[in-house]
Amino acid sequence: MHAVVTIKQVPDTSEVRIDPKTNTMIRGGVPSIVNPDDTHAIEAAVRLKEQFGGKVTILSMGPPQAIIALKEAISLGADDAVLCSDRGFAAADTLATSYVLWAAILKLNEEEPVDLVLSGKQAIDGDTGQVPPGVATRLGWPQLTYVRKIREIDFASRRVVVERVADGGIEVLESRLPAVITVGREINEPRYASLPSMLRAARFQPRVWDKTYLDLDPQQIGLRGSPTIVSKVWAPPRRQRDPVVMVPNADRDPDAAAARLLDLLAEEGVLDWLPAAAQAAK
């Protein structure tokens, strides 16, 4: 079995601070992490390897510092890792990103046929979830998104059955392999890195592929290859609200506070039944 896991190194968005004067992200000191959903994809791939034997290759597109994310993936049980990195890839949107990853998967496929591509369902910075469908469409492979469980998988007969979180319920979907599967938190608990894996990761050097090695069309990469751009970033205007009417120590006389609140809500008319009832109580 050869599984490719596409991952992304992202800023830890819970740590991101916004400069209130310029409304831009304060980049300094924000830790970079492997996108959380991707860690679940890595775990899923490694478990398949443990069950069926074979190899897990990590693939990512990013700046040179993303090597740290690849090494972390190695420490979580992956065997090999490739970083697609090139100045020409900068400012890529999801279409331009899926183009690069597609080309890289084809290259990996030439080295050793790929049975499965796994990915986190979306990245916490862009939040689009659009790259794996792009990769699947370009490969001509089925895409199975929002998979919460792999029920059955058979590499010999090239079949997989998954449970997919669809709208309104769970879809049990059967697909041929190879396929592209995206997963979220529900699928598994990622392991902690073992000491042998960490040592291996420390010594591991991922391969780095640039646009020349991948023989890419310059019109389809980076800014050039991106139909969408972020035209402006702005702080959402807070809805104009009057300053809050505060009731301190409301629990000293809770019944009075409750009565007053319900009177206020009756005036505001926000509960259908309330105005008539409040009126009746007078």
Binding site: L106, D125, I229, S231, V233, P236, D272
Partner: protein
């Protein structure tokens, strides 16, 4: 402007480098076949010919459906689409894909569609990415809209990502605000980033159609007009079952028992509720007020209440008339899910909790004193009103 005659294949004689095509791979990994007869997509041709998109007209909505029932987001987006189409002076369109779904095309017209493209075939009875993406892409390439909107549901995102790659155009994700710049005819799709701290506006300047997935529950549902006129265009679709690589073995419905998106009043609990017992009390309060119960991520993660109640960035976005936040501090990830409520009441022990900056009314104190008092008072009011008017205001909680 009529379509230019098909050019000679573009792989020769242009400065563009050819897309790498591997020797026949054993597992069939290749580039997807372009739609029949086209070496390049329409948008690529237009982009190279000076970016004239004048033959791309119309603002469309993909009407997501399952088993003949439309997702509410489709109607919400039709409301947006009709506004934008009107500003641009073009038609509002809808795409309906499925089997035996003509009634949804008719419904789309009542919600504002001037034209509905209906792709109705047995092979489309159940949603599958491969068949639906091809169906939608073909309709788009045939009829050339300038804007297409999808709900950013799981299936909507699944579909739109594939369609955007087939058509080779731009796709903005999870827009919570939509607008159109009339002079440039550009769609402005805006969405929150970094946990909602900032908004970004995404533009798709040189590709058509401009596409966006849009968050359900954010946009108002337009009032349907039953007599409204429109056209239904039936689109051919001849994909064979054998050519679809997936099969739906079964679908296990999980009916949302908690409909937060359409709730008019929500009573919501957070960390301050302390445990599942706190939510039992809130359940009573919600019932007494005729409200639906919600929760913050903290409470859901702690296992005090199920995920269906979650409001916030990773839960649902709600726009009720009344949002009563109990023991919720008001982190930004929660605020983005409820900040558009008409009246926000916060009850919290901590007067410095961020929620008080957002609230209309703030009660500082112990929710375990105030909550039961509210329950008592609400029940009392209802009882008295029932005495006077037995038939009248007995409204059930949603």
């Amino acid at each position: 402007m009529s379509e230019p005659a098909p050019a000679a294949p573009r792989t020769k004689g242009t400065a563009r480098r050819a897309v790498p095509k591997p020797a026949a791979a054993r597992n069939g990994a290749t580039a997807p076949a372009a739609p029949a007869g086209e070496q390049t997509t329409m948008t690529e041709r237009l982009a190279e010919e000076g970016k004239d998109f004048s033959d791309h007209k119309g603002v469309w909505v993909y009407v997501q459906q399952r088993d003949g029932e439309a997702a509410a987001v489709g109607w919400q987006l039709l409301g947006q689409a009709t506004q934008m189409a009107s500003a641009l002076g073009v038609e509002t369109g809808a795409i309906v894909v499925g089997h035996n779904v003509r009634h949804l095309a008719e419904q789309a017209i009542t919600y504002g569609a001037d034209v509905v493209y209906l792709v109705d075939a047995p092979v489309l009875a159940q949603y599958r990415t491969h068949s639906y993406a091809l169906a939608v892409a073909e309709v788009i390439q045939r009829h050339k809209p300038e804007i297409v909107l999808y709900g950013s549901t799981n299936d909507g995102r699944d579909l739109a990502g594939a369609v955007a790659t087939i058509v080779k155009t731009g796709l903005a994700a999870d827009a919570t605000q939509l607008g159109v710049e009339v002079e440039t005819r550009l769609l402005q799709a805006s969405r929150p980033d970094f946990g909602g701290k900032l908004m970004s506006t995404i533009l798709c300047k040189q590709h058509r159609p401009q596409m966006a997935t849009c968050r359900p529950g954010v946009f108002e549902t337009p009032t349907p007009q039953p007599g409204r006129q429109g056209r239904i265009v039936e689109e051919p679709f001849d994909l064979r079952e054998e050519d679809i690589p997936t099969r739906v073995r079964e679908f296990i419905p999980e009916k949302r028992s908690v409909d937060l998106a359409s709730a008019k009043a929500i009573v919501s609990g957070g960390r301050g509720m302390g445990g599942p017992e706190g939510f039992e009390m809130l359940e009573e309060l919600a019932e007494a007020l005729g409200a639906t119960m919600g929760a913050s991520r903290v409470a859901v993660n702690a296992g005090w209440v199920s995920y269906e109640h979650q409001v916030g960035q990773t839960g649902q976005t709600v726009r009720p008339k009344l949002y009563l936040a109990c023991g919720i501090s008001g982190q930004i990830q929660h605020q983005v899910g409820m900040q558009d409520a008409d009246i926000i009441v916060a009850i919290n022990r901590d007067p410095n909790a961020p929620i008080f900056k957002l609230a209309t009314y703030g009660l500082v104190g112990d929710i375990f004193e105030i909550g039961p008092a509210l329950i008592r008072r609400a029940r009392e009011l209802r009882a008295r009103s029932a005495e006077r008017e037995p038939v009248a205001a007995r409204k059930n909680g949603s």
